[in-house]
Every structure is written in structure tokens, then in C-alpha cells.
């Protein structure tokens, strides 16, 4: 039946053959189903990337450990980094965007529904291609060999002399294919948000979720292109006799670094801006106040979007750039802290004086706020080139970016998951289990990544296979690995909570949080057509206007 809902599909359609049900998911062009596919895909890879991280941490738990060979260790950190960035965080964020954007702006689907499906499947096959390297890395005739060149694959490690076989090719082609998918998704986001907003929703009345995904979409289009170009150039180097990155023949290894990081640093913001969007939706609802400084939040994010394209070489301070280069990239890195700081103040301003409800989504967002602040501070430290010369490529850097990726982005993803789970599934999750998840993950995160800074300061380089005892690194590495146990426990609680809630969770209703944006005006889960009648809005909080006709927002905006 047309109005069957998504999550209850699986129950209501229990009589249908499983092949039919799977077929319906495979051929779908519905943005909600594709969003869920993205999210499930990302969660599966989260488990895989998590296993790889665990192997790395077990290897480093004590000195002179030989849990895995050096070759396997190299593959693990390469695959962990690549997987987490390209096949966990990006797909999950795209998934939330794909699911939520049409609902948030009051339309029935994305601008290009078939392109939406095509983009998802490209991303999915890109990941499959990368992981096929485990069995096909040396060509189908040799032993398996996954990429081992690190997630940013610096030249000349990627040249055929140092990377024989096909492991690097699978890395290149996997990212190339998924990159096409990312560009398709970004084009869809930008077009949908610019062209398909419901009547009355001017740019100034758009939810921040839509605004920030619009900015993110624009950044993806600009940032993925250099990476795609670099991947093609690398393939030309490896198979068609090109010398772009071959220093022996007049090429430049540093050129690869520039290409990679002009993608790589905006990529950090591509990942964190949707996380900002989640926080900007969740914090007001659980503080029972509208977002503080909406126009400034938008302006700050636009600033971040622009400035993030001018900071890439702060990843290359240790390469040995000119003093002008060092000065320029130090200054731009410092400058980007300003709009970022404004956003933090605005979130705190939103909470200030609010009637805060410490539900799981809010807990994860509060965790995000403090952790992102610390990540920003260590980022400023590393952005100062003299400091970077001391600690570049050390575990301090590893701790810093995990503070961003895990402490900021993954925390808000978990918050978003709990916030929109009732909408997506029609079921309420267990708040108790969600809080267990938060506290276990929070403790695990801080055990791992707080203490990871210290061996970095003590000189422990990143990607080191093992180490000598007596350097003062042992206790810190032990604590760091113990933290992983807590994180795994937290994720297991999360998985159990999700599965249990899908079966036994109470009915959510269309608006369990007493929220204000359009997605909460439709049933949970939403019908295929989202809205039987396209809504018209008059303010940034259309549901508030309906709930409080005596005091609507539109009188004040």
C-alpha cells in the first residue's frame, strides 16, 4: 500500500518474499530509503574500521609486541583511515542529509531521485572495490594485499617501485568511484535546497540543517575534484608512463601533497559542517529555545567554507616550505578559528538560560561542544608552524584529529541518530541504554584520546609499528588501548539498543521531542510522499507557529 511506512515495512510486509522486499530496496529512488541505506552502509563500515583500529591498538599496547606483522600493521592503519573518512563518516552524513533535507525543506524528494540512487550505489561499489584489495591486491593470481601507503598515500610510496601489485590501484580506484558518487550527492543537495523549498521558505527561513548541508554540498563539489584529478594522475604515473609525482624524472612528490591536502583539509570541514548542522538542530530543541544568532551561524559557516580552502598546507609544515608559505598558512589557520569560535559561543548562547533536557541526543551534543573546543585548541597549536615542526607526524597529531573526527563528528552522529531514530523508525529507543552508550563511549573516548596526546609530546611518531621500552610511552599506550574497550562496549550497547528498539520500542508519534521543524509535522516514519499537501511556512520554526498561534515566530523574523 502506498502509504506504508518505512520501518514498519519490514513488519507489515512480513508476508512478502524476502527477495521482493530486498528488490524494493535495491531499485528504490525514495530519498528516505536511500538515506537509510547510506546510514546502514556507514555503520557496517564503522564496525570494520573499528576492528582495524582495535588491531592497531592491540599491537601498540605493550613494547615489542608482535600481535600482527609490520606489513599487516601498515595495511590496518591505511584501511582504518581510508574507511573511516570515506566509507563511514561521509556516507553516514550523506545518509542523514539525504533522508532529512527534503523533509526539512518541505518537499517530496530530492531534485534528482535517480541520481540520488546512482550516487549511493557508486559509493557502495567504491567501498567494495577498496576491500576487494584484500583478495585481489596482488592481482587475482597472488596472495591478498590491501593498501599500505597510509590514508593520504604520499608519493613516492605509491610509485610502482615501492608499491608493486595492485593494492594502491584498488585504493585509487575505490576512492575515484566513490568520489563520483560524492559529487553526485553534493549536486543533488545543492539543487534540492536551492530549488525545491516549500512556499514561504526563503533562504533566511531555512533550517540550519539545510543551510549547512548546502554549504557542505558546495564544498564537496570543489574539494573532491582535485582528489579525483590526483587519482587519475597517479594512475597515469603507474601505468601510462607519466611522471607527475616521480621525482626521478622531473615530477614532484610535494605536488601530490598539495593535491591531496587541498582536498583533505576542506574534507575535514565537509565532515564537521553537517555535524554542526546536527548540533544546531538538537541543541535548541533540548534547550527549549530558538538557536541563538541564526544569521551569524550561517555567516560563520560560509566563512568557514571559504577559509577552509586556504589552509591546506598546514598539513605540510614539516615538508619545508618557504617562510612566506609557513606564515600564510599559519595565519589562515588561526583565522578559521574565529568563525568556528563564534559558532561555539552561539551554541552556548542557545543553551544559556534554556530549560535543558539531558536526553541522549543532547548529551552527545554537549560532549561534542567541549570536545570540539579542545580539538580546536590543539588545532591552533598545530597550526602554529614552529609548534608543528616539533610535533608534526607524532601521536599528538593523531590525538588531535581523532578529537575532531570522533569527539566532534561521531558524537554528533550518535546524537543525530538518537534524535531522528524515532522519525525514521516510528519507534522510541531506550533512553537508559542510550545513556549507557553515552557514558561508556564518553569514558572510552577520553581514556583513549586524552592520553594519546602525551606519547605524542614525548616523541612517539604516528604509524610506528612497535617501540622500545623505557621511553615513557608504555603506560600511555596501555591506557589508550584500555579506552578502546570502553568504546567497543558503548558501540555494542548502541547496536543492541537499535535492534531492540526496532522490535520492542514504543510508538514514537510524529513529534516526540516537541520540536519545531517540518520533518516533525509528518508521521513517523514519514509516508512515501512525505507530505500529502506541500506545507507553507512563515518562519524558521513552522511547528512553533502552529503550536503557539498566540505568539508565532513570524511576527519577529
Amino acid at each position: 500500500m502506498a502509504s506504508e511506512t518505512l520501518a514498519l515495512d519490514t513488519i507489515a510486509q512480513g508476508t512478502r518474499p524476502i527477495a521482493d522486499r530486498l528488490h524494493a530496496w535495491v531499485v528504490t529512488v525514495d530519498h528516505k530509503r536511500l538515506g537509510i541505506l547510506y546510514i546502514i552502509y556507514g555503520l557496517v563500515f564503522l564496525v570494520i574500521g573499528g576492528i582495524e583500529a582495535t588491531i592497531i591498538r592491540i599491537q601498540l599496547i605493550v613494547p615489542h609486541n608482535h600481535f600482527v606483522s609490520p606489513q599487516v600493521f601498515n595495511r590496518m592503519f591505511t584501511m582504518h583511515g581510508t574507511t573511516m573518512i570515506f566509507f563511514v563518516i561521509m556516507p553516514i552524513l550523506f545518509g542523514f542529509g539525504t533522508y532529512l533535507i527534503p523533509l526539512a525543506i518541505g518537499t517530496r524528494d530530492m531534485a534528482f531521485p535517480r541520481l540520488n540512487a546512482f550516487s549511493f550505489w557508486l559509493t557502495a561499489f567504491g567501498g567494495a572495490l577498496l576491500y576487494f584489495s584484500f583478495i585481489g591486491g596482488n592481482g587475482l593470481y597472488g596472495a591478498g594485499n590491501a593498501p599500505d601507503v597510509g590514508w593520504f598515500a604520499y608519493a613516492p610510496l605509491t610509485s610502482r617501485a615501492f608499491s608493486p601489485g595492485h593494492s594502491t590501484d584498488f585504493w585509487t580506484l575505490g576512492l575515484l568511484v566513490s568520489g563520483f558518487g560524492s559529487i553526485g550527492t553534493a549536486v543533488n543537495f545543492v539543487t534540492t535546497i536551492l530549488c525545491m523549498r516549500c512556499p514561504g521558505m526563503t533562504l533566511g527561513k531555512m533550517p540550519l540543517l539545510a543551510w549547512l548541508n548546502l554549504i557542505m554540498g558546495g564544498m564537496v563539489i570543489l574539494a573532491i575534484s582535485p582528489l579525483t584529478a590526483a587519482q587519475i594522475m597517479l594512475s597515469i604515473d603507474r601505468y601510462l608512463g607519466g611522471h607527475f609525482f616521480d621525482t626521478q624524472a622531473g615530477g614532484s612528490a610535494v605536488l601530490w601533497m598539495h593535491f591531496f591536502w587541498i582536498f583533505g583539509h576542506p574534507e575535514v570541514y565537509i565532515l564537521v559542517i553537517p555535524a554542526f548542522a546536527f548540533a544546531s538542530e538538537i541543541i535548541p530543541v533540548f534547550s527549549r529555545k530558538p538557536i541563538f544568532g541564526y544569521p551569524v551561524m550561517v555567516a560563520a559557516t560560509i566563512c568557514i567554507g571559504f577559509i577552509s580552502f586556504s589552509v591546506w598546507a598546514h598539513h605540510m609544515f614539516t615538508v619545508g616550505m618557504s617562510s612566506y608559505g609557513n606564515t600564510f598558512f599559519t595565519m589562515t589557520t588561526m583565522i578559521i578559528a574565529v568563525p568556528t569560535g563564534i559558532k561555539i559561543f552561539n551554541w552556548i548562547g542557545t543553551m544559556w538560560g534554556g530549560k535543558i533536557q539531558f536526553k541522549a541526543p543532547m548529551l552527545f551534543c554537549i560532549g561534542f561542544l567541549f570536545q570540539f573546543l579542545i580539538a580546536g585548541l590543539t588545532g591552533i597549536m598545530l597550526g602554529a608552524s614552529p609548534f608543528n615542526w616539533q610535533l608534526g607526524n607524532s601521536y599528538f597529531v593523531v590525538a588531535h584529529f581523532h578529537y575532531v573526527i570522533v569527539g566532534a563528528i561521531l558524537f554528533t552522529i550518535f546524537g543525530a541518530f538518537y534524535y531522528w531514530f524515532p522519525k525514521m523508525s516510528g519507534r522510541m529507543y531506550s533512553e537508559t541504554l542510550a545513556k549507557w552508550h553515552f557514558w561508556l563511549f564518553f569514558i572510552g573516548f577520553h581514556l583513549t584520546f586524552d592520553f594519546m596526546h602525551i606519547p605524542g609530546i614525548l616523541g612517539m611518531p604516528r604509524r610506528i609499528y612497535t617501540y622500545e621500552p623505557g621511553r615513557g610511552w608504555e603506560i600511555w599506550n596501555l591506557i589508550v588501548t584500555v579506552g578502546v574497550i570502553f568504546q567497543i562496549a558503548g558501540v555494542l550497547v548502541f547496536v543492541f539498543n537499535v535492534l531492540r528498539s526496532l522490535v520492542k520500542g514504543g510508538t514514537a508519534g510524529n513529534d516526540p521531542w516537541d520540536a519545531w521543524t517540518l520533518e516533525w509535522s509528518t508521521s513517523s516514519p514519514p509516508p512515501e510522499y512525505n507530505f500529502a499537501k506541500i506545507p507553507a511556512v512563515r518562519s524558521r520554526r513552522p511547528l512553533w507557529d502552529i503550536k503557539h498561534p498566540e505568539d508565532p515566530d513570524w511576527k519577529y523574523e
Partner: protein, 288 residues
């Protein structure tokens, strides 16, 4: 007790059916074809050939899906009454101002220009006190002026007391410029902070600002002016800061506060008169 107020949406005329894009397998076939096309580069040519076939098939199928007309499916609309409800407690509102249901605080504040005027007046008070210090302690009103001007000298620590006591036109001009520029900036900052403490401008200017400013200078004076840092008389310096702040606060307090205008469009706040752009706001109950 929490009261739930349910407000059923006004009954609307709903369509019976909605047209949505029809499900299709061509996107996955095309994506799989592209993946195989690339995978064949590092496995076998036959994989690429299969990928190319799927690619072409996928493209053709996709085109036929959307040309000449997009394939759509008709979906029945489920009749349902959407209830938009809030769990907020319903409370009695104090009738403070019937036409102002939401408080926009502060209602009145001082403009930024008031801070700048205060800063300029404070700069005079500070200069008088500094010269008084020079006269009483060093028998020369030029002494503090030369000390201030030392910010611009690369070798300031080599300057002796005799030189500091004399009048030097260049030094005087430099000190005057530094003093006026800094006073303007501090006044501007003061003006920007005024909305935070609109009811106590003298407290902000006379107590809070001097403490913050003195603390900031104490920590960085050695970098920006080593000579002044070496010879500074902190009690007099702090007194001059307070003189600056109190006078600035008094000047601001004598000016008339203006109503805050958060709801006024940006163009009007910026003072741009563009009748086509700056629309009249509709009445409070009138829909926009």
C-alpha cells in the same frame, strides 16, 4: 503538571493520490558497470568489458526511464489527521506590555558612537593625569609622553632619562597618534560592550574596563613597549586607567539611550533608504 495542548491542523483538502518517481534498477546497473569498468583495469579485461556492457545498458535504460516522459508511480494518500501538539506547560502571562509579548532585552541601550565619544573624553582625562604624574614625579610633563612614544622605537631601552625629560616634536606626534588611536579603539570596544551592561555604563567604563585593560597591558607591555614596562609607575598608571574609564562612563551616561531595534531590517539599521527594498512590516496579526 504538564499540560498537553493539542491543536489539530485545520482540515485541508488533501489530494487522493500523489505522483512520485517510479523505482528503477538502472542507477544500480550503471553504478555497477562503472565499478567493474575500473576494476577491470587491475583484474582482467573481461571484467572491464562486462562493465562497459552494463554501463551502456544502464545509460540506455536510464534515458528510456526519463525520456520522453519521466516514469512515475501513483501513490495513494493515506487519510490521516495530523495532530501538532506541544507538551509545554500552559502558563498565565503577566500583562507587561500587551503589544510586546516577547521581551527584547535591553529595551534601550547606548549607540556605539557613545562609546567613541566617551573614549575621546577619557583620553583627555588620562592625558591630564599622566602629565600631572610627569610634573610631580619627574618635573617634566614630557616624560610620560616620551615613554608612550617609545612604542615606536626599535632601540628604546638605550634611551636615557635626560632625553625623556625633554620635548621632541617627533616623539610628541607619535605619542599623540598612539594615544588618540588607542583611545578611539578602546572607546569603540566600550561602545560594543555597552549593550551588555546598558544600565551601568559608569560601572562598566570605570571599573570593569580598566581592570581588563590594565591586566591585558600588564601581560604584554614588555613586548610592545619595553621602556615603558621598565619605568612604569603602576599606581599612577592604574589611576589614569580609572580616570579614563570614569570620564568615559560619565560622558556616556549623559547621552540619551536609544531603543534597541533588533526587529528592524538590516537595510534600515544600516541607514539605507531604499523604498523598493525596505518593505513596511505588516501589522502584528496580519499574515506576511
Amino acid at each position: 503538571m504538564v499540560t498537553t495542548i493539542s491543536r489539530p491542523e485545520t482540515p485541508q483538502v488533501m489530494p487522493d493520490t500523489v505522483k512520485l518517481p517510479a523505482p528503477t534498477a538502472w542507477p544500480i546497473i550503471l553504478a555497477f558497470g562503472i565499478a567493474l569498468l575500473f576494476a577491470g583495469l587491475v583484474t582482467s579485461a573481461s571484467v572491464s568489458i562486462l562493465g562497459a556492457i552494463l554501463f551502456v545498458t544502464g545509460c540506455v535504460g536510464w534515458f528510456r526511464d526519463v525520456l520522453p516522459h519521466e516514469k512515475e508511480e501513483t501513490v495513494e494518500v493515506k487519510p490521516e489527521v495530523t495532530v501538532i501538539a506541544t507538551s509545554r506547560r500552559e502558563v498565565e502571562r503577566l500583562p507587561i506590555a500587551p503589544d510586546l509579548p516577547r521581551a527584547l532585552l535591553p529595551l534601550e541601550t547606548y549607540p556605539v558612537s557613545a562609546g567613541i565619544k566617551g573614549g575621546l573624553a577619557g583620553s583627555v582625562a588620562m592625558a591630564v593625569l599622566a602629565c600631572l604624574y610627569g610634573f610631580l614625579k619627574q618635573r617634566s610633563i614630557w616624560y610620560p609622553i616620551n615613554l608612550l612614544a617609545a612604542t615606536g622605537y626599535a632601540q628604546s631601552l638605550k634611551i636615557g632619562t635626560a632625553w625623556l625629560d625633554g620635548f621632541h616634536l617627533g616623539s610628541f606626534s607619535l605619542a599623540l597618534a598612539i594615544h588618540l588611536f588607542t583611545s578611539l579603539l578602546v572607546g569603540l570596544l566600550y561602545g560594543a560592550m555597552l549593550p551588555m551592561f546598558p544600565r551601568r555604563p559608569i560601572f562598566l567604563g570605570g571599573i570593569v574596563a580598566p581592570i581588563l585593560w590594565t591586566g591585558l597591558l600588564h601581560s604584554i607591555l614588555g613586548l610592545i613597549n619595553p621602556l615603558l614596562d621598565e619605568r612604569i609607575d603602576w599606581p599612577w598608571f592604574i589611576a589614569s586607567q580609572f580616570a579614563f574609564g570614569i570620564v568615559a562612563g560619565l560622558v556616556v551616561a549623559r547621552l540619551a539611550p536609544v531603543r534597541t531595534r533588533q526587529l528592524v531590517p538590516f537595510l534600515m539599521r544600516a541607514g539605507i533608504e531604499a523604498p523598493g527594498w525596505t518593505k513596511e512590516k505588516p501589522g502584528k496579526d496580519e499574515p506576511r
